[in-house]
Amino acid sequence: MISLTSPVETWAHRVPAGVKLAALSLATVGLFALQDPWHLAIALAAVVALVLSGGLAFAAEAARSLRILLPFLGLIAVWHLVTGQLAEGLAVALRLLAALSLANFVTMTTRLTDMVAVAAWLLAPFRRFGLSTRALELSVALAVRFTPSIARKGGLLTEAWRARSARRAGWQVVMPLAALAIDDAEHVAEALRARGGVEPPEFTG
């Protein structure tokens, strides 16, 4: 499946994923601790410089993923213009832009496999409490395997609906889609058992 990792290879792609994630966590906590719009403006400038260090194409891609903030930025603008607390509004907007850009930067420069490795490392201690990393691995693989197939079936169902109706399909296809997901779950459970199940029998020698 496509991931959000940027195909534009930057220097940050080579930084270990764990380091990037730790730095992101610290920086995000820091951003929420800052209140002064000037400090936040400096922080945002630093983040922008970081993103630009990946090149223009990379930065353009990063900017596109900020679009989801537009309605919120508009909202903040209206709200704080009305209440007159402009400094607070500016701080909130700058913080949002910086935090989101930074988080996206880490996602864009970290390969899925590296992310998974960090996640596995973080979860390792929980094995002692009965967490089956094998079951976890399998469920991730299954979800990734079946997402495109469910989306495709959803598309086919909407098409089948449209072929026989003047109105657009909507929630009506959710029920057959859920039924298909349930059927798939039953079939794959059997396919798993056919090849030894989640916890395979021990083979020694």
């Binding site: 496509i2 991931s3 959000l4 990792t5 992101l24 993923s65 903030l69 919120f72 909202l75 607070e88 909130v92 949002l96 935090a99 989101l100 930074l102 988080a103 996206n104 880490v106 996602t107 864009m108 899925l112 992310m115 998974v116 996640a119 079951a135 399998l138 469920s139 991730v140 299954l142 979800a143 990734v144 395997r145 079946f146 997402t147 469910i150 989306a151 079936k153 959803g154 598309g155 909407t158 657009r168 909507g170 929630w171 296809v173 959710v174 889609l177 859920a178 039924a179 997901a181 349930i182 059927d183 798939d184 779950a185 039953e186 794959v188 459970a189 059997e190 798993l192 058992r193 989640v198």
Partner: protein, 180 residues
């Protein structure tokens, strides 16, 4: 064991799939995402524990960098955006929804709709409003005010979740694990 695991994974995939179907709109042509409907169904169909785990799995995949949220969004940025609470709250929403359906053995359609309302709206909005309040620097009542516009759409989804769950139970009686 295998069935639990595959149901959890397939519902995570279902929630993802509901966000990926092109030009998919719920009732009244409002382009609201069907993904929270998937969260409600995870609760009503799978029950509390499996439903919550399906949502948790989905969130983990988003965090790892897969663009599974409606509109192809994903990655760590989602967790820094104002709507973070509405995502992080999913497992809790599905858990409460599932718990109600498991415990209250009334008419499935009605119970599922009410359970989806309690879990998928009440519980979820608590998380959502908290997230908004922190990220947007607003007080809780102010943040709550900002999201009231979305409640009618979610009420429709809860009703649909009830109808879909009972339709599933009719077509595949064994499939509604929460009542199994």
């Amino acid at each position: 064991m295998e069935r639990n695991l595959t149901h959890i994974a397939l519902f995570a995939a279902l929630i993802a799939g509901l966000g990926l179907i092109p030009k998919f709109t719920l009732a009244f042509g409002v382009p609201i995402t069907a993904q929270t409907l998937g969260v409600m169904l995870a609760g009503t169909v799978l029950g509390a524990k499996r439903g919550a785990l399906a949502c948790l799995l989905f969130i983990a995949l988003v965090a790892l960098g897969l663009p599974l949220l409606a509109g192809g969004r994903g990655g760590l940025g989602v967790f820094a955006s104002p709507t973070v609470g509405f995502l992080v709250g999913w497992p809790f929403a599905a858990f409460v929804t599932g718990l109600i359906v498991e415990r209250w053995r009334g008419n499935l359609a009605l119970v599922s709709a009410i359970a989806s309302g309690v879990g998928g709206i009440l519980v979820l909005y608590v998380f959502g409003v908290l997230g908004m309040s922190v990220t947007l620097g607003k007080t809780l009542p102010e943040a709550a005010l900002l999201v009231t516009a979305f409640i009618p759409g979610d009420v429709i989804k809860a009703v649909l979740a009830g109808l879909i769950t009972s339709a599933l139970a009719r077509s595949r009686p064994a499939s509604v694990l929460s009542r199994g």
